[in-house]
């Protein structure tokens, strides 16, 4: 067998797929360096949705006529693609949600309300996004369980030594953690956490919102119990996301949203639930969005997740290297080989809002804020950071423009 060299992606070429780059912002080409918050969309995905609406739109699972069949085939065909994308053992374990946030809430409510109580512990980390922090805090509060966080070190990496202490504080019933941190880019050791969770008899919930766009996912290799992600961060439309869940757990769980489609038989005194995955999909779902989600998966697979991951590592290394030259800059997070294409930083005396605003006038879009990680910001001792994040369409020239722009910011406000 010949050894294949991993094909690199050609970001310059891929950019042509994205209509958003055809415009100028403040007279400058758009340098979109905020892909961690949401990604831009290729024509292939937009065309797939438009075409679906124009030729095949109808409600799913409900009609015997042609349009409804086409719509159902499009919707379920996309489910098969999304399920395969995370190597789910069965597409019945793949539930469509609005977003990663809703996917996590589904587990927190439907599993948590029945399985947490006094003496139990729900564990997240200091690195977690509010969407994987607040649901567990809230449901723990409602059920009387306690809520604990895994601390991080100064590099933004989890301190796994602290796990024993957490285990001694009660029955750990659920561990929920992000695979890639949106604030720092840290790639977390989920396999180790999962092994620990299972030793405690706890379930492992993986927030893969930030991982799914950037690295190949395999729920069977991760051995986790639930995995949540969003279409909009991975070239797909807004309004749809997914939860993968282990079948035995999903089957035992109560439902979350109630309504049409998730039922089997409705009586005045009793209602029974539909089979998986429909039990968790009440009401009319995001139909065309699911089709777009499937098209986004096709698009990413065509490029290759390995190639995307490598491209991001290279950009992260390049950016950290270039940005380190800025006087006084503090770059948060681990070295490039342990992070996705995300660089969060602070320049003393320059507020992130001002940096982002001034960069915008050069057509450069970066994020300024707490990135939905207030506990982490407190841990880092800052109110907010400036963050540049990259994706398959990011080119090194944009990083050069960012560095130049930051020099300009310093001259103006420093």
């Amino acid at each position: 067998m010949a050894i294949e060299t991993r094909p690199k992606l050609d970001a310059h070429k891929l950019r042509a797929d994205f209509p958003i780059f055809e415009q100028q912002i403040h007279g400058k080409p758009l340098a979109y360096l905020d892909s961690a918050v949401t990604s831009q969309k290729p024509r292939q995905v937009l065309d797939a949705m438009r075409d679906f609406y124009e030729t095949s739109y109808g409600n799913v699972h409900r009609g015997v006529y042609t349009l409804s069949e086409r719509a159902t085939a499009g919707f379920e065909g996309a489910r098969a693609k999304v399920a395969a994308f995370v190597n789910a053992p069965s597409e019945r374990e793949l539930i469509y949600t609005r977003s990663a946030t809703e996917a996590i809430n589904l587990v927190a409510y439907a599993w948590g309300l029945d399985n947490l109580g006094p003496g139990d512990v729900a564990v997240v980390s200091e690195l977690d996004h509010h969407s994987n922090f607040v649901p567990w805090q809230y449901i723990a509060g409602r059920t009387g369980a306690s809520f604990r966080t895994i601390p991080i070190d100064d590099n933004g990496e989890l301190v796994l030594d602290s796990l024993d202490e957490l285990a001694s504080s009660g029955r750990v019933k659920v561990v929920a953690n992000n695979l890639v941190s949106n604030a720092l880019g840290t790639i977390n050791p989920i396999e180790q956490l999962t092994a620990w969770a299972h030793e405690q008899g706890a379930i492992m919930v993986v927030d893969a919102a930030q991982a799914a766009p950037h690295l190949a996912l395999d729920v069977q290799a991760l051995d986790c119990d639930f995995l949540a992600f969003s279409s909009h961060k991975m070239c797909g439309p807004s309004g749809v996301g997914a939860l993968w869940g282990r079948r035995e757990l999903l089957e035992k769980m109560s439902p979350f949203n109630l309504g049409g489609q998730m039922i089997h038989k409705v009586d005045l005194d009793k209602t029974t639930w539909n089979e998986l995955p429909y039990k968790f999909e009440a009401g009319t779902p995001a139909i065309a969005e699911a089709v777009g989600f499937g098209a986004a998966v096709d698009y990413l697979n065509e490029i290759g997740l390995d190639a995307i991951e490598q491209h991001e590592h290279e950009l992260a290394a390049y950016a950290i290297d270039k940005m380190s030259e800025i006087d006084g800059i503090r770059i948060f997070g681990p070295p490039p080989d342990r992070r996705a294409g995300i660089v969060s930083f602070d320049i003393p005396g320059i507020h992130p809002h001002d940096a982002a605003q001034i960069l915008d006038w050069d057509g450069i879009a970066v994020r300024a804020g707490h990135h939905c990680t207030q506990p982490l910001m407190r841990r880092l001792g800052v109110a907010a950071t400036t963050r540049a994040s990259f994706y398959l369409y990011t080119i090194p020239e944009e990083i050069d423009r960012l560095v130049e722009g930051l020099h300009k910011v310093k001259r103006a406000l420093g």
Binding site: H61, R62, G63, V64, S68, E69, T72, A73, F75, E76, G77, R79, A80, S90, E91, R92, I263, H264, K265, N274, E275, L276
Partner: protein, 144 residues
């Protein structure tokens, strides 16, 4: 052959209009009820075994349904007559589909399978064997 003739071909219409084995069976050896949640159609299947308590002597069904589900169940009652319960409990759905002999969209497939699924449940219940995954509605129903 146009689509109407294809789906509602003579033999289907014949089974629909003159269903074999239609009716209630008193003191059946095995029975079960099934429902198609899409349209609320319900069917009850009754089985009487032969002397060996295993060979299927007679199958009857009652309930309401569309032409496809009624005809498919009617055909089924003829197909399984004289077979062993253990064989029928694992009967491949394609055998019934071959008999029906028309192309079915995924949604109509559920109509066609209602009788067979219910019959299998009746047999497993009577024999005390655990319901296979497929019958809990898991793997053998295609998504889409």
């Amino acid at each position: 052959m146009n689509e109407f003739d294809q789906l509602y071909r003579e033999v289907i219409l014949d089974h629909y209009k003159n269903p074999r084995g239609h009716g209630v069976m008193e003191d059946a050896d095995a029975d079960a009820e099934g429902m198609n949640p899409l349209c609320g159609d319900e069917v009850t299947i009754y089985v009487r075994f032969g002397e060996d308590s295993d060979t299927i002597d007679e199958v009857k069904f009652s309930g309401r349904g569309c032409a496809i589900s009624q005809a498919a169940t009617s055909m089924l009652t003829e197909m399984v007559q004289g077979k062993k319960a253990s064989e029928v409990a694992v009967l491949d759905k394609d055998e019934l589909l071959d008999e029906i002999g028309i192309p079915l969209t995924p949604i109509r497939l559920k109509c066609a399978m209602l009788g067979l699924t219910t019959l299998k449940v009746a047999l497993h219940k009577a024999k005390g064997t655990p319901l296979p995954q497929g019958l809990a509605g898991y793997d053998d129903l295609e998504l889409s």
